[in-house]
Symmetry: C2
Subunit: 186 residues, 2 copies
DNA sequence: GAAAACATTTTACAAATGATAAATAATCAG
DNA sequence: CTGATTATTTATCATTTGTAAAATGTTTTC
C-alpha cells in the first residue's frame, strides 16, 4: 500500500494535504549493515520502513546497545533529537537490506503550519510510539529476561533475521545470558 | 505561575484559545494516599501537578508497581488509555497532599478541532513526555539499580517524600534490594 | 573452497538481585 | 500517649545475570 493511503487510515487528509505530503516522501534503499543515520548527528529526516528492518543503537562503555527495532510500516526516528533539535548519541542502522520512506523533518514541520490535518496525523503517529514505549517500560521494569525474549519472539517473524547480539542488548542482558536462556528453552 | 501562562512559554496561544483553555482548567485537591484515578478506569482527564506529587501504579503478581512519578508543573496522565480510549490496569494516586490542574480530555480534543494552536501545545507537551520515556528506557536497559537510584535522587528534591517501596518498584528492583543499595552508600 | 572474520554457545567463577522471614523503626488512629 | 499498623532494614540462602575466556559454528571474501 502507498504510504499516503496508509496515513489516510489514521487521519483523513484534504487533497492538498495529500499532495503536499506526497511531494515530501522519497524512497531510499540500504544494504544490510548500512548506517542510515550516524551516531552524533541531529535528526532531520523521519523514516518509515517500507521493507526490511532497522535498529536504533548507541555505544555505552564499549558495548553496542540496541534501543529499538523497526519493521515494515513502522516509524524509525531518533525522537529525542527530532523533538529537541539537538544531536543525539544514537544512530540508525539497516539490519537487513532495507527500503525506507523518508520525510524531511524541517519541510514537514513547515507543512504543520499550513495543514492542521498533517500536524494531527503526526501527532497521532507519535502518540502511538509513545504508548509503545510505555509498554516497553512495563516489560523492562517487571518481566524477567526470559519473559521479555519470548514476548519479542511473538511480536514479529522478523526477529529471526536479527543477530542475537542486537537482541540481547535490546532486552537489557548480555549475549551470554541470552544464549543461556535459549539453551533452557529447548 | 498561572497554568495558561506556563503554556504560553511553550507555544503562543491566540486570545480565544487562551480563554477556551482557561475555561476547561479546574483545580482539585487530594490528601496523601488518595486515589485520583482508579485502576481499571478509562482516562478522561489530564492532570498537571500544581503542588505535591503523585504516581501512576498498577498491580503485578500481587505487587504494587510504581510506573511513574510526577512533580509540580509535570503532566500526570495514563497515556495508554488517553490515546486509545481503552481502560487501563493502571491507577493514579496522591503520594503527598496534592493539588492538580485538571482538564477534561474530551472537551480538550474538541478544542483541538477549533484551535490549531491548542492541538500543537499538547502535541509538544506529549512529545516531551515521550522523550522522557525514552530516557527512562536507556536507564532501565543499561544502568545498574544503584545508578538508577542515584539518578532519581538527583532529579528532584521531592524524592525524600516518596516511600521507599514506591521507589523500589519504579527502579525495577525489590524493596530489600533498594535497602541494601542505600546501606552501601553510607 | 579455504582462510579470515564474525557470531553463538559453553564453561567457570564472581557479583547482583530475589525470596522469605525476622528485627527495628516510624507513623497513625483513638 | 500508646498500641496497632505500616515502613524499612538486616540476615540467610537460592537464583539470575555478569565477566572472561575458550570452543564451536556460520558467513564472507578472495
Amino acid at each position: 500500500m502507498d504510504l499516503v493511503s496508509y496515513f489516510q487510515t489514521i487521519v483523513p487528509l484534504s487533497p492538498t494535504a495529500q499532495d503536499a505530503l506526497e511531494a515530501l516522501i522519497t524512497t531510499r534503499s540500504y544494504r544490510k549493515n548500512d548506517i542510515i543515520q550516524e551516531i552524533g548527528s541531529t535528526c532531520r529526516t523521519l523514516y518509515i520502513v517500507k521493507s526490511g528492518c532497522a535498529r536504533i543503537f548507541y555505544w555505552k562503555d564499549g558495548n553496542d546497545i540496541t534501543e529499538h527495532f523497526s519493521f515494515p510500516q513502522e516509524l524509525i526516528v531518533r525522537a529525542e533529537s527530532l523533538f529537541t533539535g539537538k544531536p543525539t548519541s544514537k544512530g540508525i542502522q539497516a539490519i537487513t537490506d532495507t527500503e525506507l520512506y523518508a520525510i524531511d523533518s524541517l519541510a514537514l514541520f513547515k507543512l504543520y503550519d499550513q495543514h492542521h490535518d498533517i500536524e494531527r496525523l503526526f501527532r497521532i503517529l507519535f502518540e502511538q510510539e509513545y504508548v509503545n514505549t510505555i509498554k516497553r517500560i512495563e516489560s523492562l521494569q517487571f518481566h524477567t529476561a526470559k519473559e521479555r525474549y519470548l514476548e519479542l519472539l511473538k511480536s514479529t517473524q522478523y526477529v529471526q533475521h536479527i543477530p542475537l547480539k542486537y537482541i540481547a542488548s535490546y532486552l537489557g542482558i548480555t549475549q551470554v545470558s541470552l544464549s543461556r536462556i535459549r539453551a533452557d528453552l529447548s
